[in-house]
Symmetry: C2
Subunit: 118 residues, 2 copies
DNA sequence: TCTATAGTTCACCATATGGTGAAGTATTGG
DNA sequence: CCAATACTTCACCATATGGTGAACTATAGA
């Protein structure tokens, strides 16, 4: 298929399809700042495959790699997930049938936050 | 099976990668219950391609098809998205470092732990 | 009954994805 | 300097994905 312009949401979702990549992200969530080999260690796959996964995550903007000497530290940068959650949240009403109550709760929380001075 | 949940997440995310499929779901969200040709109408692609997209959405459990006469009505069934949102919500604290969000995160984690029976 | 409509299936194609082994590039440490 | 370490790049492979045209099934309507 000819992909003229793969937008951010496309890249985010396709980065999240692969369970190896999701596991890498989950690992970084539990403890951020791992080297490439630390990240690779739990998986059966060889380093070139790990590299490709890191490239996908990097291009999706979900991780940042910083080189120091011969080691590369990978850190989480999950902001693109926010857009994905926003997209999904449109469908929330289908599984959360008491939307009015939830909306009221959210509003009350916001009011509380404002009272606290944001 | 142990990997059942993971397989379902795989399928959900990979169904959501394609912008055509996301547009179809969005269309159903605005007005549920469209026939195959109504769903296909806004897109440039031919019916066989539409069929494949519907198969993917169906296998991901995101739509339901019901035949009546020679027309097939497609309805939304977005429950699998809930799991995807749950997965993403772990990362929410990275872009919303507000206290109430952190509390919600901690609560969700606790609930998850309880569900696992830990 | 005959034909148009609605959808489905099939064979095929180009490109993307996720993996490999082998070889290369920097750094670090002895 | 030399060897081990930590990636990185390359060529290649199998399978998946998203698309097509052609042909098919089944129902609706004149």
């Amino acid at each position: 298929m000819v992909n003229y312009r793969q937008d951010r949401l496309d890249r985010t979702f396709s980065a999240l399809v692969d369970p190896t990549r999701r596991a890498m992200l989950a690992r970084l969530e539990r403890g951020d700042g791992l080297t490439v080999s630390e990240l690779a260690q739990p998986f059966e796959i060889k380093l070139p495959a790990v590299m490709k996964h890191l490239d996908v995550l990097d291009e999706a903007g979900l991780i940042v790699r910083s080189k120091s000497g011969r080691t590369v530290t990978v850190t989480l940068s999950p902001e693109p997930m926010r857009e994905a959650m926003d997209w999904l949240s449109r469908y929330e009403r289908f599984w959360a049938p008491r939307l009015d109550r939830l909306a009221a709760y959210a509003e009350a929380e916001e009011a509380k936050a404002r009272r606290r001075g944001k």
